[in-house]
Point group: C2
């Protein structure tokens, strides 16, 4: 069978399974999730065995340490994977929830009911835990899922997939609920993105180039974020202690993630006071600063920032720094260079805080808190399937509710239209 | 200047205007809307003058009466157009509304705030009133709009657009708020659909072929419905009087629209009783029935339905009729042949009504009411920019809220992530 046909069959089976899932009870779904978690726990050594094959292959090529770290599964990571499936089982079922309900003058009662989207395609890179996480979130929200992971993690993915399939079988759910495209052929993704008859939504997870490719080729709606060029703006009226804490946290706590600060904006009114202090602390943390001309005048030994630095998602121990003229300058910079992900203001000035929250057009806008909170768990969603910087369907951290659509259900007693 | 560049400039100007609009006050937007309505009223004869040119052109070609009717503007239709802009001015502003707000254990307060999407592209056919309606809805929701109407109504559209521009100018809003692509070149739509850097969402309004073309060519997210093959299922436990009224209303009240019934499904348990009665009434209304084999046995002089009839959106005085085995048969038929638009059950049986509401996967699912209620006004939205059978972003009747996205605003007092 050729590749295109194979993928079409996976997608078609997913569509059929999604119909069964849309009628499955919360109890049945949760039971299947708990079985998945239990079986993953009982097959730790099998997963590690297959994961080693992936690592061996990557070692022989010249890929980065970070990649090997993302790829590696050990006992504790597999236990975490299982624990997060159990956690998803405990979350409320989003399907069937009625968001609102109202009565019309003619007596019709209209309700807005959450329903599954249908079939979700997930295209991801090397993290094998995504396989289990996404399968669990889709199952809980009554969506079938078609997974296409990176070729580096193919053996790990097949092993995890096999275990999830066993659990589905044990619980009497169709195997189409979770599909895995096993091919390493680059064309597999292109074929998948043409299956708009069967797949309703695609969520790509990975680097900017993967996401661009998916967005360009897809005939299916895509929800995505390209990158997180997150800003913290320290206003002239900032509490200095809060500002220092927030900036260090936003940059240093985990620099390699999309909600970490990449550019620090400092009000010219306090640059002289604030910059030397933050520079001292950043240096201790091993952060390299790249500053604008004004920053250079205030700090010695600072590398000059180039125009391209303002658009850079370093994901590294590097920070771009710019002195701006007050909140207007900060908003103008963010509007021009930002990625609409997460941006923060630090200020004790009420009106400026509200102005920033209102005018910055990003998925998450913070006043006096670290951008690092942009995360489904931190928002209280209990899980996360991704973060969106799009404005269609879902924005910001996405979890179970974002994996649903809605339908209107109308209760009448014979009404006809006049 | 070449066409592509012209369209790019319109889209770019719209993007810039959308930034101004996102900060405009409700008062300023409403004032502009009222000015638009007033100016349309004061220029009735100018609009009619240009509309006559369009009609003259269409008359000389061999297009249908229905098209001429859709195209024609007279004084009362222009007054209606103005009145509906005034009505939009009176609706609540969706932007800035906080859908929900919650507190996290660490003290962060997170709110979900409605924001405009940005730039909306509307691609439509011959109705010139769409120009004013869509411009008003987009302006009220702080979105800039790029309009591309059918070539048949080009003179009417330019005239209306000119008046709306005058109103924008008078009220100090940028002219980019409302853009009109005047070209009759077929490539104009293709170019528009490539402007994903500037246009955030496209809503096509018109026949199935237009919508298919837009969906296939667009690099921008599209929200749409292809067609409305709506069903009424008359259950064995139906109240006969309600069933007759609902079926007649759903088919006859306005047969040419997407929420009219195209297929009647009758439970075999009451077919013998119900079919002759409804056939008598449909005949009086001039409706031609096309029936399945069972229907043919119960009614004489019925044309046999072909397989293709079950998928047909007649938009005409024709009705497909099928006898099904109870609610399971009805749901199976709708799942196979339906268009996920609007479907109704007529029954006094509580469990069956709930089963139908739950299991039929359509944008609007009715119990004991006519499918004709699928409409923004009838739902109480005060307006309508279209109907969606998609599951991403918006489903069913779409109005102001569906023209918005959201952002998370987070109030902290120094929180950092642990």
């Amino acid at each position: 069978m050729n590749l295109k046909k194979t993928i079409e069959n996976i997608a078609k089976e997913a569509k059929e399974a999604s119909r069964v899932l849309s009628k499955a009870s919360t109890e049945a779904k949760d039971k299947a999730l708990r079985t998945m978690a239990r079986m993953l726990r009982s097959k730790v050594s099998l997963i590690i065995h297959h994961n080693r094959k992936d690592i061996a292959k990557v070692r022989s090529s010249r890929l980065s340490k970070a990649l090997i770290d993302r790829l590696t599964l050990d006992k504790s990571r597999i236990m975490e994977m299982a624990a997060s499936i159990d956690a998803v089982a405990k979350l409320p079922d989003p399907c069937g929830a009625i968001d609102k309900m109202w009565k019309r003058p003619n007596g019709l009662v209209i309700g807005k009911m959450r329903v599954p989207i249908g079939v979700i395609g997930i295209i991801y890179e090397s993290r094998p835990n995504v396989t289990a996480d996404c399968a669990a979130l889709c199952l809980k929200s009554s969506n079938a899922v078609v997974l296409k992971g990176g070729k580096e993690s193919i053996n790990s993915n097949i092993a995890i997939y096999g275990i999830l399939q066993e659990a589905l079988k044990k619980e009497g759910l169709p195997e189409g609920c979770i599909g895995l495209v096993e091919s390493k052929d680059r064309k597999a993704v292109s074929y998948l993105l043409q299956m708009d008859d069967y797949i309703d939504l695609v969520i790509p997870r990975g680097g900017e180039s993967l996401i661009k490719m998916v967005a360009e080729q897809s005939r299916i709606p895509v929800i995505k974020h390209y990158k997180g060029v997150c800003h913290v703006y320290v206003d002239g009226k900032a509490d200095m202690k809060k500002a220092l804490n927030i900036c260090i946290n936003a940059k240093v706590q985990r620099p390699g993630v999309c909600n970490a600060m990449e550019t620090l904006l400092v009000d010219s009114a306090i640059a002289k006071e604030f910059l030397p202090e933050i520079a001292k602390r950043l240096k201790v943390c091993g952060i390299e600063m790249r500053g604008c001309y004004e920053t250079g005048k205030l700090l010695s030994n600072i590398r000059a920032a180039k125009e391209s630095d303002w658009r850079e998602e370093y994901l590294d121990l590097i920070l771009a720094v710019r002195v701006v003229k007050g909140i207007e300058g900060a908003i103008a910079h963010i509007t021009k260079y930002g990625s609409s992900h997460s941006d923060a203001i630090v200020t004790e000035d009420f009106s400026k805080a509200l102005k920033f929250l209102k005018e910055v057009d990003s998925a998450c806008v913070y006043s006096n808190a670290s951008t690092r909170f942009t995360d489904g768990h931190e928002f209280g969603f209990g899980a996360e399937i991704g973060i969106s910087t799009d404005k269609i369907h879902a924005r910001g951290p996405m979890a179970l509710e974002e994996l649903t659509s809605y339908k209107y259900i109308i209760f009448g007693d014979g009404q006809v239209r006049k």
